[in-house]
């Protein structure tokens, strides 16, 4: 067996969040939210936050490691890492990069984090306010294609056309997320359940996406702390082991203006074989799934490409009853995810996957040993992590 692996060598020791707010409602600046998330994760781990000596983030996070280490009063900063581009597609990758740093001995205690205060810094979903545009945007913006929803609705139309994916399948994904959020005190949509009639009557954002097919926009921060497996067992009695983390994209997944070689894809087709091979598990071993919902159509593609259903049976497998914990056969987005917990750019989904292994999810899947959380779908570079109990290390 190869020694070139993170499996068994590192563990997640703590997770934490700031309060999650509706968009632009945070009373505190983004940097403060990040500090609160890191302190919460350190407290969850039972460690002093000053012992954090490495920082990983993604999507060009604005909160620089040197400033964070300075604010925390860390005696030394040993590792700083940014996962380039592709927005929330880097959420699992940031944890993977933290795990790699610990495995390599670059640092001892590394936090993967993300902060977003869209009131302070502007919205993802707004088009550019400028007189002219050049480069790739010149081929889309003048035609009214400028938001992420407008970019990825096009791919979802073709998915539904090629594989007869039903509207009811998209609806079930959204309803399951809202259902799970009702049990989650962190969720901004707790107290706001969603029924089929409300989904069906909701306005189009960009056909084929209705309002409830589209992620929230929120303010908040989240953090995940990784240490060596050996040290983890000294600080916590509930370490969670990343079995594998893989990132990437297929042939010309970054091609401009909708010219990706393989268009109808979540971008996971080349990532997943490496992921399962490294983890030493397969789709049948996965007890619970967190699948990044920028848009519901991307979740369908992701679940298929992770081998959790097929193009042929997606409409039969992806039903509300199957997707809800604890009784469903494929419990999905059990915190409410980006649709109904908080759009924490996917790091909340990673935390929920970790909590499922620890047993402290708001919607626990009894006896979960292996959980999967992906990030991205349809963007250029995506990533997925598989987490397990000590028993799952084999």
């Amino acid at each position: 067996m190869s020694e070139l692996t993170i499996k068994g060598k590192v563990a997640v020791v703590g997770v934490g969040e700031s309060t999650y707010y509706k968009r632009a409602q945070s009373p505190e600046p983004e940097f403060t939210l990040v500090l609160r998330a890191i302190l919460a994760a350190a407290a969850d781990a039972g460690i002093d936050a000053k012992s954090i000596d490495g920082f990983c983030s993604y999507s060009n996070d604005r909160n620089l490691p040197a400033r964070l280490a300075n604010a925390l009063g860390s005696p030394e900063l040993r590792f700083s890492n940014m996962q380039w581009g592709s927005g929330g597609g880097g959420a699992a990758a940031a944890i993977g990069n933290a795990a790699a740093a610990v495995t390599a001995g670059y640092a001892d205690c590394v936090v993967a984090f993300r902060g977003l205060a869209q009131g302070q810094f502007g919205r993802f979903g707004a088009g550019p306010r400028r007189a002219t545009i050049s480069g790739q945007g010149a081929y889309t913006v003048p035609y009214g294609v400028m938001s992420p929803a407008q970019t990825y609705a096009m791919r979802t139309t073709r998915l539904m056309h090629d594989h007869d994916i039903d509207r009811s399948t998209l609806r079930a994904i959204s309803m399951a997320a809202y259902h799970h959020a009702q049990n989650n005190p962190r969720a901004v949509m707790q107290g706001r359940p969603l029924d089929a009639e409300t989904y069906d009557a909701s306005r189009w954002i960009v056909e084929p996406f209705r309002l409830y097919d589209v992620c929230l926009e929120n303010d908040g921060a989240a953090a995940v702390i990784v240490m060596s497996a050996e040290r983890a067992r000294d600080v916590t009695d509930r370490p969670v082991y990343p079995l594998a983390v893989q990132q990437g994209g297929g042939h010309r997944s970054g091609a401009g203006v909708h010219n990706q070689t393989d268009y109808v894809t979540s971008s996971f087709k080349t990532v997943v074989p490496h992921l399962y091979a490294q983890a030493g598990v397969g789709p049948a071993d996965v007890d619970v799934v967190q699948s990044y919902e920028n848009f519901t159509g991307g979740v369908v593609m992701s679940l298929i490409e992770h081998g959790l259903c097929t193009y042929e049976n997606a409409n039969e497998v992806l039903t509300f009853d199957n997707l809800v914990a604890p009784t469903g056969s494929l419990p999905l987005n059990t915190s409410g995810g980006n649709l109904a917990e908080c759009y924490m750019h996917g790091l909340g989904l990673q935390i929920e996957a970790i909590r499922q292994i620890r047993g402290d999810s708001p919607n626990p899947v009894a006896g979960a040993k292996v959980s999967l959380a992906n990030a991205g779908p349809m963007v250029e570079v995506v990533s997925t992590a598989i987490y397990g109990t000590e028993e799952a290390l084999g």
Binding site: Y139, G144, N259
Partner: protein, 144 residues
């Protein structure tokens, strides 16, 4: 007469000069894409190097302004102030069998609520914006 309301950002060639021939072409009502001088492969969006054979010798060639609808979407929610009163509009992704199945985006001329059929044949309609500070021409599509 433009398909979308005035006030969206106007396209200008990239400062590095990469795609200036494309925008010069649309002013002449000509649809240009890149083609590799060495291996003959068409390429889009604009790049400095052929992704097939790594040649830097890419030429701009005019292709016939026809294609077929690969996919489509209908935005309703305006994400730019210029579109506040626009209402729904249609965007089509058109592929070009005559150019290695490259794809381009444009608006679909006609009723914004019309049914769109993937695979339909469409032809280019050049939409001149002569009154812009730097005049430009967009490429729209209509069914044939």
């Amino acid at each position: 007469m433009s398909y979308l309301a005035k006030g969206l950002p106007a396209p200008v060639p990239a400062p590095d000069g990469l795609d200036a021939p494309y925008w010069e072409g649309t002013r002449q009502h000509e649809l240009r894409v890149q083609r590799c001088d060495d291996c003959g492969q068409h390429q889009w969006g604009p790049e400095w190097m052929c992704h097939g054979c790594h040649s830097f010798d890419l030429s701009w060639v005019a292709i016939e302004g026809t294609g077929r609808i690969y996919s489509w979407e209908r935005p309703y929610h305006p994400v730019h102030p210029a579109l506040t009163d626009q209402g729904p509009y249609l965007v089509v992704l058109v592929e070009f069998p005559q150019a290695d199945n490259l794809r381009m985006l444009g608006n679909m001329i006609g009723d914004p609520l019309q049914d769109v059929i993937i695979g339909s044949e469409v032809e280019a309609v050049f939409e001149d914006h002569d009154d812009a500070e730097v005049p430009y021409t967009l490429v729209q599509w209509r069914c044939v």
